[in-house]
């Protein structure tokens, strides 16, 4: 087990370098000069442009820029600074991540509680009316684009009923985050429900469940421990990767509800060719993904003792 974890952690190193290099190159190859872009239509003299490029090391070849960037992170925990605002990227990330993290976790909780409940109900009543209703509902959610759902939530709850403010304020209270979290988590919620339902319905007919029932165990124990534990493996796999997806995929939801999080930061940084900011944010997202998937893999062993790590 320890060796397995160590190996997984070591694997993160090439992934870290690979992803940062790829993203770096992608942003680097986009047309448009971030320094010239500072001055818009008006333009400025070549001397100022050159001085600014030099200040940010943009006059170096790409490999040298990448080298500087990586060594800055590794040895000084310095992610560099933004070309426009001059702010340290670590601060920029630090102010954008907490709100997205809260939003993602909130969505995640909604997704687990509602998704699992719906899935379990549907799975146990497979083929019955409830099951069909849930299948239709989840199909609806899956086929609806996020911005449509966001628009509906806003116009119904904010403008017609007046229950919520249409947008998240700068204080970002939990109450304000409910609406965006529901919208953000809804798609995954539908997937979780469907995955749970299928896996439950399938395992309901498995030998070990029949055995458990035959042993005369109470129904709660059969379902709660025997059935659930095994049926959760595909769901947990999905949930693990979904944490990363929720954090990165908040672009649209954050835009709809005016949340100043990671989504808007990535979008804006790409538009402004703030390459280092993009790489920095993506690096953090990659780390989140890696840790989440490591946790998922470790959870397998807990859920199904037959799975063993060398």
């Amino acid at each position: 087990m320890g060796r397995y974890v160590a190996r997984r952690l070591l694997q993160m190193i090439p992934v870290f370098f690979g992803t940062t290099l790829l993203i770096f190159l992608m942003v680097y190859s986009l047309p448009g000069d971030p320094v010239a872009g500072l001055f818009g239509d008006k333009g400025t003299d070549p001397a100022t442009l050159a001085a600014l490029r030099h200040q940010h090391g943009l006059d170096l070849p790409w490999w040298h820029q990448y080298y500087n960037y990586i060594t800055g992170i590794l040895f000084h925990f310095d992610f560099g600074s933004q070309i426009r605002s001059g702010r340290d990227i670590i601060d920029v990330i630090g102010s954008a991540f907490p709100v997205t993290l809260r939003l993602a976790l909130f969505a995640f909780v909604i997704e687990i509680v509602l998704g699992l409940t719906l899935g379990i109900v549907a799975g146990l009543k497979a083929g019955k009316l409830v099951d069909n209703l849930i299948l239709i509902l989840t199909l609806l959610i899956i086929s609806m684009p996020v911005f449509v759902l966001g628009f509906i939530v806003k116009s119904v709850f904010a403008f017609q009923l007046g229950w919520i403010d249409p947008n998240v304020s700068t204080k970002e209270t939990w109450g304000e985050l409910i609406a965006p979290a529901v919208v953000l988590g809804s798609l995954s919620l539908a997937y979780v429900a469907r995955l749970t339902r299928t896996s439950m319905a399938e395992n309901l007919r498995a030998d070990y469940v029949r055995t458990a029932v035959a042993k005369g165990l109470p129904k709660r124990r059969v379902i709660g421990v025997h059935l659930m534990r095994n049926s959760m493996i595909p769901v947990v796999t999905f949930l693990g990767t979904d944490i990363g997806a929720l954090m990165g995929g908040a672009v649209i939801t954050e835009g709809i509800f005016n949340v100043k999080g990671v989504g808007g930061l990535i979008y804006e940084s790409v538009i402004r060719r703030e390459g280092l900011t993009v790489v920095g944010v993506v690096t953090v997202l990659v780390v989140v993904y890696l840790i989440a998937s490591l946790l998922v893999d470790l959870l397998y062993a807990v859920m199904d003792p037959r799975i063993r790590y060398a």
Partner: protein, 546 residues
């Protein structure tokens, strides 16, 4: 009246995406006074975006930063709504020959940290900002002043050979002189631009920190800046200017889209908007009633010609008649009414409304829609090469619709094939312009820097001017501009520029399309919301109701 505004360019910004600069002007006051009880200490909020750069007066050139600057800094002068010069921090700005200017300050002004505003505060600030080592984006504004080249050499990597601008001399605590390299009759007007702000002594200890927490001399002092969320300004009670704030302070709230800002306006979470998003334009007048704003401001959109493109250059330079013909093939009245939903006024010249020297028919007939004459002119001029044109635009700025409409109008009127040449975003659009890859036309825009017609002509069509990115060049026109710039008085200079504008039809450096309008609104909590010539709300005039 209030502090002058900065060059602004609204990169990908929703509708406005035009590039340019802007100065503020006063608006008439008092016409809706007495509407309700006013809380003189009330705080209100305005929709903005995150300023792009540190808040340095000489480096702020886009609208999100310049609206903050307009509250924090006052300059020597400002303008009223007719483009007349008004003294602010200066008691007088005088020159006999338009070359040597003497500035006298009103005594008793202080910065927000309590230190005195002196002649030295101006001279030192300008010397700092003009120095190439400090990389200020608006440094070129000091180029009129004698000795600028020594402090700000143009060539890449060059080092300054002087410590200070030769033309600036402190006479006494409240007087200094500015000697220009050449006579500039309208230089007094330029002084209203925020690049000419003074800076307190504390600035030089750590300019970067000062850019995060600016100390100015304006009607508001800086309170806090939560990045990407909001900037808070509070009234500066010791302010000596006439434009003292009629409210307790302003919160500049950050919105990522105009649509979310409009929703917040309707639900009372923000008080003043600068612009309404395209989605809400059809409904905003009905939603807001007399709180809806619809007024012109001094900005123009044009189709600029890429004169370096093969199409216009080979085998011989294009005959201006061809471009006149294309201009007359555009049905401006219909497009502004339908596609642009009444957010623009058809242009009748190259100089926008609200500046000194604006005339109602600067471009004569060429901005009128006349398909028959359009066809005839194009034929006379030898036809459009390949009978085909393209219009380059950035597709992140909401330009696609009108570009298609303009193309449709040209094609149906003259049979010239016309297509939009979309670039994914403003950066890529600029890149294509800088590297001279525009194929035939590109969309271009300009908001005033100072309210004199020279700003819409000299800064756009002079050979090598900053705003002249299409490579237009004409020695005759350059000579006329030089003559207008050295005219003995402001009036004569303005008249000379009016003559140049009339003459532009013979060169057609660009096709004027339409003037911009402010389409905005405000909440029930505030009144007396006025918009300046640059389209921004005038912060100090807003009154908060009890």
């Amino acid at each position: 009246m209030r502090g002058a505004k900065s060059a602004k360019w609204v990169a990908g910004a929703i509708v406005v995406a035009l590039a340019a600069t802007a100065c503020g002007g006063g608006a008439d006051k008092g016409d809706n006074a007495g509407k309700g009880d006013v809380d003189p200490n009330g705080i209100y909020s305005v929709e903005v975006g995150e300023p792009e750069k540190l808040l340095h007066p000489a480096d702020t050139m886009e609208s999100n930063g310049s609206i903050v600057m307009s509250g924090l800094f006052s300059q020597l002068v400002d303008y009223d709504a007719d483009g007349k010069l008004v003294m602010v921090n200066a008691e007088s700005v005088e020159s006999k020959d338009s070359k040597l200017w003497t500035v006298k300050l009103k005594p008793g002004w202080t910065f927000h940290d309590g230190t005195k505003v002196t002649a030295e505060s101006y001279v030192k600030a300008w010397n700092w900002a003009a120095n190439i080592n400090n990389k200020q984006g608006n440094a070129s504004w000091y180029a009129d002043i004698k000795g600028f080249e020594a402090l700000h050499p143009e060539a890449e990597g060059a080092k300054p050979t002087a410590e200070a601008l030769e033309g600036l001399k402190v006479v006494d605590e409240n007087t200094f002189t500015i000697e220009l390299a050449n006579a500039v009759p309208y230089f007094g007007y330029k002084l209203g631009y925020e690049v000419f702000s003074p800076l307190p002594e504390s600035f030089y200890k750590d300019p970067a920190a000062a850019g995060e927490k600016p100390v100015g001399n304006g009607p508001y002092k800086f309170k806090s800046w939560e990045h990407k969320k909001q900037i808070e300004l509070t009234r500066f009670d010791d302010y000596k200017g006439a434009d003292k704030a009629k409210n307790g302070g302003v919160i500049l709230k950050n919105y990522s889209t105009l649509e979310t800002a409009y929703e917040d306006l309707k639900s009372g979470n923000v008080d003043v908007l600068r612009q309404i998003g395209p989605k809400d334009l059809p409904v905003y007048r009905g939603d807001l009633g007399d709180r809806a704003v619809d007024q012109p401001y001094s900005a123009i959109q044009t189709l600029a010609v890429a004169f370096y493109a093969d199409q216009w250059k080979t085998p011989k330079p294009v005959n201006p008649k061809v471009i006149q013909g294309l201009s007359m093939a555009i049905d401006r009245a219909t497009i502004t009414k339908t596609v642009l939903q009444g957010t623009r006024d058809p242009a009748t010249g190259w100089v926008a409304k609200g500046v000194l020297g604006y005339t109602a028919d600067g471009s004569g007939d060429v901005a009128k829609f006349d398909p028959a004459k359009a066809k005839a002119l194009i034929a006379e001029g030898g036809g459009v090469p390949n009978n085909e044109i393209t219009i380059q635009f950035n597709s992140d700025g909401g330009h696609k619709e009108w570009v298609e409409a303009v193309c449709g109008s040209i094609t149906s009127a003259t049979g010239v094939k016309c297509t939009g040449d979309a670039k994914p975003d403003f950066q890529a659009d600029l890149q294509a312009r800088k590297s001279k890859q525009v194929k035939s036309f590109y969309r271009s825009g300009w908001v005033l820097d100072y309210p004199v017609n020279a700003n819409f002509i000299s800064d756009l069509f002079r050979t090598g001017a900053g705003g002249n990115q299409g490579g237009f060049t004409s020695p005759e026109l350059d000579a006329k501009i030089a003559a207008a710039d050295t005219a003995p008085s402001l009036d004569e200079s303005v008249k000379a520029y009016q003559a140049i504008e009339k003459d532009l039809v013979n060169y057609m450096p660009s096709i004027p399309l339409w003037y911009y309008k402010v389409n905005a609104g405000f909440s029930e909590k505030v009144q007396n919301v006025k918009y300046a010539q640059d389209g921004d709300p005038i912060l100090d005039l807003v009154e908060v109701k009890k």
